[in-house]
């Protein structure tokens, strides 16, 4: 078992004929993901690598029965792609696109909230259920099937975390990169909730970073509701305030978003926090041992 994606997931790729879209479609397919179709407006009717391409999501879903979408549409059209996925009543939309304007996302997120569709991202690596299904751009080979759920705001730092887990002999049930933007679909709590209910997830590793208060909110929720051991790491302990560290989400401003506050909140929530980025796997082992 796993959360959000499994062997039954049928994936449609929005923006399948673009360079990045096509590259990662092939990578996912090679990993074993069941890619049933793609959407590129104006290219309906063609096939890429044997995958049928449609002009609209509505048609793609109707013909293929796809229930998950992976979005590679460039920023100007990314929010549109999310809205189209919602209207097509897809179960899960995963928006990989980086650089979606905030005003677009504020509206798109409200539409998502009012629909049956769950959104992961934007600006995220996607998600993977190791050995079964990959809907994202992460390298498959570092993952190993197992019982640890991973949820993260970061991309490559998640790869580092997963590698440490795998090296420590801890496989993963599902790894979810929720994205680094200020406005995203599923947040830590939404994913933690799923892991809490998943019988095959035994513990969770949460990777946060400076900026916002999402980790504090998660800590509060964990304290109240989480029945499984949680380990965490927060990147940016040494980051200077007032400077945007790479992506829009990661900034310490107005006395908010500091790593120390997040670590404190997590500790109070009973979470085992790794003090060093090299100790994420170890922290997970510790959390499991204490449980």
């Amino acid at each position: 078992m796993s959360i959000l994606i499994d062997a039954k997931s049928k994936v449609i790729v929005q923006g399948i004929t673009g360079r990045t879209g096509l590259f990662h479609t092939r990578e996912c397919k090679a990993y074993g993901t069941n890619i049933v179709g793609g959407v590129t407006p104006g290219k309906g009717g063609i096939h890429v690598d044997g995958i049928p391409v449609f002009d609209t999501m509505e048609e793609a879903v109707r013909v293929t029965g796809g229930n998950v979408s992976m979005i590679f549409v460039p920023p100007p059209g990314a929010a549109d792609a999310i809205l189209e996925a919602c209207e097509a009543q897809i179960d899960l939309a995963v928006c990989i696109t980086e650089g979606v304007p905030v005003t677009d996302m504020v509206l798109a997120r409200q539409v998502v909230a009012d629909s049956k569709t769950l959104l992961v991202g934007p600006n995220c690596p996607g998600l993977i259920t190791p050995g079964v299904c990959k809907v994202g751009i992460m390298p498959g080979y570092i993952h190993k099937p197992g019982k640890i759920g991973v949820v993260s705001r970061s991309g490559t730092l998640t790869y580092e975390a997963v590698k440490q887990l795998t090296d420590a002999g801890l496989g993963q049930s599902t790894c979810v990169g929720i994205g680094g933007d200020p406005i995203i679909g599923m947040k830590f709590i939404d994913v933690l909730q799923k892991f809490n209910e998943d019988p095959d997830t035994e513990g969770v590793l949460l990777i946060g970073e400076i900026g916002g208060t999402a980790e504090e909110e998660a800590a509060e929720w964990i304290k109240e509701h989480m029945r499984k051991p949680v380990a965490a790491f927060i990147a940016g302990v040494t980051a200077p305030p007032g400077r945007r560290m790479g992506h829009a989400g990661a900034i310490i401003s107005g006395g908010k978003g500091r790593a120390e506050d997040k670590i404190k909140a997590l500790n109070e929530g009973g979470v085992t926090v790794a003090t060093s980025p090299t100790g994420m796997g170890l922290a997970m082992q510790k959390a499991l041992a204490q449980a």
Partner: protein, 395 residues
């Protein structure tokens, strides 16, 4: 993206937001001319990309044009230091000359992004003109917040409640309602991540206007506002940060001596954290992006080499799908072209790791490779110490 106060006010005026009469000037003589047009009595405001100017001597009142020129001369000649600029301060290249306003009361009004609700948020307080974060910390009850529904936008009855909450009544309250609706419209249409008016003032004659204004544009939306590129004042930015931005690299100069190149912002932050833990001091934050290629890696490496504070370089690339031989070639291309003899540690993960390592080993550079993050960080700190010891021994 940051812009200056005068630019923010220009934009706000097009949304019928009242602002003081003012003109921007780039020389002391121009300041004098503008002051004369204003009747001599005016406010001289340094335009810098940082708040807290008043305390740093960046806002001064002149009573006649000659005095305005003298103030301007002094401002152009130095750097303004505020809590937001860091100790080195910022150069003044532009000055706003404004008509003096007789302030009755000061308020705070802004539109900002509320991440928790994923909505824009109207924030207002009767405690204007001061550091709003202080107010938020010590007397949060004095801050009034309204989350804005993305479907309906801000409606006048909602703005009216906020105007009343900050103590405005009658015609002035209605002016404030219009004011709030207008800055919200500006925020959405101009793709701002924040519009902050601090203070909004009501004059003794009941005129309501924006005395100061700060606008930040959403970087992700720049593609649909080409006019913003011309608004940037490069004199307010670090030269290396400017050249990094040209190549779509996120670079931030820091105080240390170990140059860092990492792919992905989270991993880049974690890399700085682990360097510090090992006793090293990072010279920069540099994110080459999740899926960097040879050209980007080479460009990033060149930017690090331009920083004369850099005495050693740590590269941490978790490529995954990226090929390590490609990364290695990018590093070799940039380092060889610049005759770099600095100690370098490269930690790579991804396909073709062995080929990448071999390329580096045969490159003739002072480079070592590492398989793990902690191992790499320790190694570069050790190599730097060794190099420093060797240098001391030579002297």
């Amino acid at each position: 993206m940051n812009i200056h106060e005068y630019q923010a006010k220009d934009i706000l005026s097009t949304y019928d937001v009242p602002v003081p009469r003012g003109r921007v000037a780039v020389t002391a003589e121009q300041v004098e001319r503008e002051a004369k047009k204003m009747g001599g009595h005016c406010v001289v405001k340094a335009q810098i990309y940082a708040g807290g100017r008043g305390k740093g001597g960046g806002v001064k009142v002149a009573h006649h044009p000659e005095q305005a020129r003298e103030i301007a001369k002094e401002m152009f000649g130095r750097r303004i230091v505020t809590p937001q600029t860091g100790p080195e301060g910022l150069k003044v290249r532009r000055i706003l000359v404004e008509e003096p306003i007789e302030v009755g009361r000061e308020y705070y009004v802004s539109i900002a992004l509320d991440r928790e609700s994923s909505r824009y948020c109207l924030i207002a307080s009767a405690e204007g003109g001061v550091d709003i974060e202080q107010v938020a910390e010590h007397s949060p009850e004095k801050i009034h917040k309204l989350l804005i529904d993305p479907y309906t936008g801000l409606r006048s009855y909602q703005a009216r409640k906020i105007a009343q909450a900050i103590g405005l009544k009658g015609a002035v309250a209605e002016d404030c309602v219009q004011f709030m609706l207008n800055i919200f419209r500006c925020c959405i249409e101009k793709d701002c991540s924040q519009v902050e008016i601090n203070p909004m003032v009501v004059t003794k004659t009941d005129w309501l206007l924006a005395l100061d204004a700060k606008i930040n544009f959403d970087d992700n939306a720049l593609f649909r506002h080409w006019e913003y590129h011309e608004m940037q004042d490069f004199s307010q930015m670090d030269p290396l940060e400017i050249s990094a931005a040209k190549f779509d690299l996120a670079y931030i100069k820091l105080d240390g001596d170990i140059g860092c190149m990492v792919n992905g912002a989270g991993l880049a932050m974690a890399t700085l954290d682990v360097l510090k833990e090992c006793g090293g001091e990072p010279a920069n934050f540099l994110d080459v992006g999740g899926g960097a290629n040879q050209e980007k890696v080479a460009e990033a490496f060149r930017i690090i080499l331009q920083d004369t504070d850099v005495k050693a370089i740590f590269v941490n690339i978790f490529g995954g799908i990226m090929r390590c031989d490609v990364i290695a070639n990018g590093i070799i291309e940039a380092a060889s072209g610049n005759e770099c003899s600095l100690p370098i540690v490269v930690r790579m993960d991804g396909s073709k790791v062995e080929e990448g390592k071999e390329l580096l080993a045969n490159s003739g550079l002072n480079v070592q490779t590492a398989d793990f993050l902690g191992e790499g960080a320790q190694l570069i700190v050790a190599m730097l110490k060794e190099a420093e010891a060797a240098e001391d021994a030579e002297q």
